[in-house]
Symmetry: C2
């Protein structure tokens, strides 16, 4: 089968389309004929990871496609079923393995194209907002990078599942307008305004109960200023750097703030299976009814995968970037 | 009634024993004839707090004593009942008010002297280990200042309620030996050893699932090094300073660490009532059976309250410091 790997760690020019053996599903695994794969920032980090050694892996962490072999007892996953999910091996390939416990069966109104836009970003947003952030009905949430894949997923769930008051940041009016269409209540262009000042002013100095922070160091003090008493501040990315100078722990005590770092990919298989199970139960019905939608920015051909990586690096997408494999 | 307040914010010489009106309990409150009051570090912080304005408050946050008036419908709190609890107004006084919802009825085997040693430190240790730290059976917990009031409470509960593997730090062999008697498994003299190195060595590089951190800045990097994957790091004091010069957020993500700042005193009445209710149910039975004991270092006469403050400032106590009022 055709699959994208790397010649060596580095920039886009290191991506290489090669021939690989079709993987064999073990017990409790599915073999999937891949139709679409999602592009994630993590794939770029993997591509650049100089600690990788040969043989280099197939890149990609999520796919949609059709079950070809079902090595589990779950008959709902028999061959022919349309599924999406986080893969075991690489996803940028004509075939991939998904553990049966983390396959998401697509509701009938969703296409395979739409399905590929769901797993990584919706599961990450669900995990961070609910399992770690403990977002409660009507609470206020600050979602940075509102137009990103995780951002657009988070806005929709926070509105539909929790009727939250949603504050987003993004870097263009077009992105902010789109976030507002999805359910954002307050939109802030971080290039033009200090988001902490806007938040304190618009919430009557209350601040926000939950923060989804993909940025890290650059936003440290502004996030701290924006946090309400008992805030849950979930750190899921470091696009703005990892190193913070001069922090004051008093602020954590005085406002009883919880700062929680998290990544989804390194979690255990059991954790991911439990997450998929909760997501199937609590969120998939909103997809079936059309109240929540996968947001797709662009779909590239399989051969154009390097262009898809460039689009993610350029950071101009509103929603997901995908590649079409079949 | 006699009560200790301050002439102005400052050192122990500012403490002054004055005459005050006996407080009147409102609806759902109890009037307590105070027998013992606990000394807490918070009282010293209040004494020194230059943002206080006149009239200065009666100091003290917890007492044991006998109910004189019960303005609630809870007949278990009728006059004559022996109780302990966190007060509404000051506790260094002949009478004090406790909301009925946070009165802890003493089990029959406990004296009023023992009772005064329970509320602040046991509730703080319970809240931080279980509500915030989510300590599970057989997990590993690092308790700094193991011989302190909260430390001695935490060691006993972690052992009896959770059979945890308990690692403590303290600054003398005498304190460490006492912690071991209470149930500590690994004891570290922070003056002689680097606690993070000892922990990684003794846990086979696993680290600790929960950290009770009273220290803050001075221990920042060592705590980070000691944290296991998915660690809950509860920050409840800043004896070692609040300002950290450099932090690396990558460490929070890579190990999925949660850092939670907390204080008990500023929490809402409802929060404290819920905490007392959980504590009554889950911990008081261990006091009744004698498996968990209040740890008292010294009891001062009411007139000697400045000496009790000195003892706390000198940091030589193993367990609680109390004053005897009646």
């Amino acid at each position: 089968m055709k699959a994208w790997t790397i010649k060596e760690p580095g920039n886009r020019s290191k991506l290489t389309l090669t021939d690989k053996e079709i993987p064999k599903p073990k017990n409790e695994e599915l073999l999937i004929e891949v139709h679409y794969a999602g592009i994630n920032r993590l794939d770029i980090e993997t591509r650049e990871n100089t600690s990788l050694t040969k043989p280099y892996p197939i890149l990609g962490v999520e796919v949609s496609g059709i079950v070809k072999e079902n090595n589990s007892n779950n008959k709902a996953l028999n061959p022919g079923t349309w599924v999406t999910g986080l893969v075991k091996n690489g996803g940028y390939a004509e075939y991939a393995i998904i553990p049966a416990s983390r396959a998401i069966v697509l509701s009938k109104n969703l296409t395979l194209r739409e399905g590929a836009a769901i797993p990584e970003v919706f599961l990450t947003a669900y995990q961070t907002m609910y399992w770690l952030g403990d977002l409660k009905k009507e609470e206020t949430i600050l979602i940075h990078a509102g137009a990103s894949g995780v951002g657009t997923a988070a806005i929709q769930m926070a509105k539909k599942l929790s009727n939250a008051k949603i504050i987003v940041t993004a870097g263009s009016q077009e992105k902010l307008d789109f976030c507002r269409q999805l359910g954002a209540d307050i939109t802030i262009n971080y290039k033009q305004e200090k988001f902490d000042e806007v938040i304190l002013q618009k919430t009557g100095n209350y601040g926000v109960d939950v923060i989804l922070d993909f940025i890290g160091a650059n936003y440290w003090q502004k996030n701290m200023n924006s946090a309400a008493v008992n805030a849950r501040w979930i750190l899921i990315g470091l696009l703005g750097g990892a190193k913070v100078e001069h922090i004051n722990l008093n602020e954590f005590l005085a406002k009883c703030i919880s700062l929680k770092g998290t990544l989804l990919t390194p979690r255990s298989d059991e954790y991911k299976a439990d997450l998929v199970s909760a997501f199937q139960k609590n969120v998939i019905p909103y997809f079936a009814s059309g109240e929540i939608k996968p947001i797709i920015h662009d779909v590239f051909s399989f051969e154009d995968l390097p262009k898809a990586h460039k689009a993610m690096e350029d950071n101009e997408n509103v929603g997901r970037l995908l590649v079409n494999i079949k």
